[in-house]
Symmetry: D2
Subunit: 150 residues, 4 copies
């Protein structure tokens, strides 16, 4: 069984993720959407704007970081549900190849889903998933909700 | 002698850094400026826009990442000069406190300046440097000299 | 096709990896061996000694770091051959669960194999791969060919 | 005021740190000691054994990681006291120069001391602090007190 086969939390689909994010975060900086989500992974697509292109014509590092952060956020939705607003605790990114193009893809796979911490790895690319532009790994923390203790 | 006392590379001042960045990167996404630069550190200020505020009212993680990346870039200018366009190789960021406000500050201190790699640490805050919102460390790579000489 | 199906570099098998490491590194601190290797992954087993147990009975963090480093090293052999002595450039590790036991396993999967840099992710566990104790990601650098040819 | 000037927690000195660690962790793998500790920093010295030398004559990466981990642990003692057994949550290390020698030094400076998380940066060297061999940054977590669970 691959990560993609693990069922997402109740009611979590690309459509509900996109609707939820649009509602919660009307002014978000990047035009992005969830393409796939399961209980252990997510795939995000990000439209790169003119202001996100670095001198030299490359997609900026922070834009790729934002893509990784989004994909991990979507994957956390798949693992623990839309209500559980997980927050990024730490994230490390390696830039391995110039990113040329106006469309980024980021695939997050979760390595560990604990009661409090979720750790995942992300691969980012423009046109070929076998030629990634950045590789990330990071930790999301599920907020301590008084409700969950109740 | 503190980092701030180490002289910047020839001709590198906050003014020349800001002029250089404005010229090279007209469409950059954030309104930012270099406030201090020496041969071992830089201080950057970033105006946070509406679209960079996350649900809940916090400055988004990618915006803080962008601030760290900028401060390290400025510090690399101070260490090796404006012409040497160092590129981010890897960067890890830890979010330690909610970032509330519309102005971010990022101070980068260089830990190691090698012939090829520069490693630095960054502290990010909104209104109190003793209450940082994020802590980063990363590596910049200076372009290969044979290439830049070519 | 999974990572495990990608053929290892010529002559690289668990047996040749173990023989090579035993020859090159007679005094290595941990009793470890390569169990699997392909062109994109490796699985390592490490016997944990008494001196590697922390107060509380847990396998120490540095021992788990060493396991991750070894598994990535083995995977680099699979990707680029035994002669190419790749060196660790950077490695980040997240400890997600107490490690209890005297046998560690570390599985490294390579995310990106470039001409110069190799990036991989590692999962570490004691008795259950679905309950990892640590998650890592890092970069190995292949020695510069011009140097090795010089 | 530099980090070194910030007073350590009550009763924390290099001598009490060394006595505490010797008592708690009799079988620890490396011969190490605390040379300095304040409320915001610590300096550790580590004797490198034969088994910690890599092929080529270099101090192994995991040995340097262990040095960083120790120095951060000592610094956490200085910040929050000897009783509060902080645990490593995550640590990233960059190797910037070959480490040649049989004595490692690691200096940890704390960037953020929160109620739950402590983030610090570490510089490692053999004979010259201005020529570091590795640069690290990581997070320690103070254990949840039994009171908060009560």
């Amino acid at each position: 069984m691959t990560n993609s086969d693990i069922p997402a939390a109740d009611g979590v689909t690309p459509e509900t993720v996109n609707a939820f994010v649009a509602q919660e975060w009307a002014a978000r900086p990047t035009s992005s959407r969830c393409l796939e989500v399961s209980g252990r992974h997510a795939l995000a697509a990000i439209d790169v704007g003119e202001s996100q292109i670095r001198p030299g014509g490359f997609v900026s590092g922070p834009t790729q970081f934002a893509a990784a952060d989004l994909a991990l956020w979507y994957a956390c939705f798949g693992a623990i549900g839309l209500e559980a607003m997980a927050l990024t605790s730490e994230l490390s990114i390696r830039f391995v190849r110039p990113a040329i193009g106006r469309q980024l893809y980021a695939r997050a796979d979760l390595n560990s889903v604990g009661s409090r911490n979720i750790v995942g790895s992300v691969t980012i690319w423009t046109d070929d998933p076998d030629r990634p532009t950045a590789i990330c790994q990071g930790t999301y923390v599920a907020p301590k909700s008084t409700e969950s203790a109740g």
